[in-house]
């Protein structure tokens, strides 16, 4: 090992982060090389200085100030953040992903001539749409969109039990949905309008504001969605 190689490894040597064979070689070198030994002692002195920095005095009242700010409402989670965090929870993620998959298949089945993959039948598509409508409304409300709840609601509204949610994994559904970016924009706008109509038809207090959102978009991008 050259002098510069030894010097580059002195910090690791100090921390015993090196294999024993390298350690012994460096140790032997330090005993015979005054310059490298000086470097090593300088490094050790540097680390001693760092570790010897005294404990700083804590400014008075930090904790009290923080609690007062929280009491004024500053430490709350932003509503949008809460919604998206909740969207990642399994009970919400499954119906959302199924809905997204449904939208994907809905678009794939469009009449633009863009149909690289086989689309599901119209029953499956409607079922997936219903899942998504239900999941989004539940999210906006903070209601539980757990499996039983959405299955009951959806089956009452739509009589299409296709098993879509179990045949398409959420990850695959989202991945497929992402490939929508390749699709024709005009067609996406048309489908968004249709989806907005379905939201309006859901007869929920929040459905009108959600529909407005989709009507103003050329496609349904979940990350753009904000409650009104």
């Amino acid at each position: 090992m050259t002098h510069s190689e030894i010097r580059a490894r002195l910090s690791e040597y100090l921390e015993r982060d090196l294999p024993s064979e390298q350690r012994s070689r460096i140790g032997a070198h330090l005993e015979s090389c005054a310059d490298c030994d000086r470097e090593f002692r300088d490094l050790r002195a540097t680390v001693s200085l760092l570790r010897g920095l005294p404990e700083p005095e804590l400014p008075a009242g930090i904790g009290g100030a923080v609690m007062a700010r929280i009491a004024r409402g500053e430490g709350r989670e932003a509503r949008v953040y809460t919604l998206f965090r909740r969207a990642a929870e399994p009970r919400f993620a499954a119906p959302l992903a199924a809905g997204l998959a449904g939208l994907f298949f809905l678009f794939q089945a469009g009449d633009s001539g863009f149909s690289p993959k086989p689309a599901l039948d119209s029953g499956a598509t409607k079922h997936a749409e219903a899942l998504m409508v239900h999941a989004m409304l539940a999210l906006a409300d903070g209601r539980d969109a757990s499996a039983d709840a959405w299955r009951d609601t959806v089956s009452a509204r739509e009589d299409h039990r296709t098993g879509l949610a179990t045949s398409v994994t959420p990850a695959a559904a989202v991945q497929q949905y992402m490939s929508l970016a390749r699709m024709d924009k005009a067609m996406r706008r048309t489908r968004s309008q249709e989806f907005a109509q379905k939201l309006r038809g859901a007869g929920h207090p929040n459905s009108a504001s959600l529909a407005t959102h989709f009507e103003s978009r050329s496609n349904v991008v979940l990350a753009d969605w904000r409650p009104r």
Partner: protein, 219 residues
């Protein structure tokens, strides 16, 4: 499986850290975190009092002045309140606190870097020494101690942020490599490399000072 107890000469490398051992996470904050996540505000207040000191210390070493550090400490603790409910107990709560604090300090550092006026103010304060930590315990060494601290602080502030945070967490906060990797969300190898690079840079910057010191000790 058998284990062999290997005795090492403790004086050979006096500053070397104990080898890290891996055992099950026992989180001393678990009970308070559970109560807080269930809605008990007083539990969060207790967590704040428990963790405000390390958060302030980290912010001070990262930013170099008390005013900014106090501000960042408050922001970090508010951020903890904002996002702490998503803490999933996959690591110690203190690791999560350090992660929030490190992010707050690094963000502030970037903001400061973008503001020339504030940067000048920071430099003035640092050169004036008004942001030095509390005095050393021995009053006879006060001047030398203050000078040493000023040198170290100045050298720390001259490091790039990613190297500074690594060496602060390791050498000042005394955290093991694995925990630093979790705080910074980088591989352990990256942590080690940053620490060693930071120390080498500090040694270069403090060379004249530490050489005098070690010669003084020898003579």
């Amino acid at each position: 499986m058998t284990y062999e107890l290997v005795e090492q000469n403790p004086s050979a490398v006096p500053l070397a850290r104990e080898v890290e051992t891996h055992h099950e996470i026992v989180d001393p904050d678990a009970e308070l975190v559970g109560r807080w996540q269930a809605g008990d505000v007083s539990a969060f207040e207790a967590l704040v009092h428990r963790h405000e000191r390390p958060v302030f210390r980290l912010a001070l070493r990262m930013l170099g002045n008390r005013e900014e550090a106090e501000d960042v400490t408050q922001e970090a603790l508010l951020s903890l309140h904002r996002h702490g409910r998503s803490f999933r107990r996959e690591s110690r709560f203190s690791t999560f606190v350090y992660r929030v604090a490190a992010n707050a300090a690094l963000n502030r550092r970037r903001t400061l870097g973008r503001s020339r006026a504030r940067e000048r103010l920071l430099a003035q304060r640092q050169s004036g020494g008004i942001d030095l930590p509390s005095s050393p315990r021995d009053p006879g060494d006060a001047a030398a101690g203050a000078q040493a601290q000023a040198h170290v602080n100045e050298a720390l502030q001259a490091l790039p942020s990613d190297l500074r945070i690594a060496v602060v967490l390791y050498d000042i906060e005394g955290m093991p490599y694995g925990e630093i990797a979790r705080v910074l969300e980088v591989p352990e190898g990256t942590v080690k490399s940053r620490i060693h690079r930071a120390r080498n840079a500090l040694r270069e910057r403090l060379r004249s000072f530490v050489t005098q010191e070690s010669e003084g000790v020898e003579s």
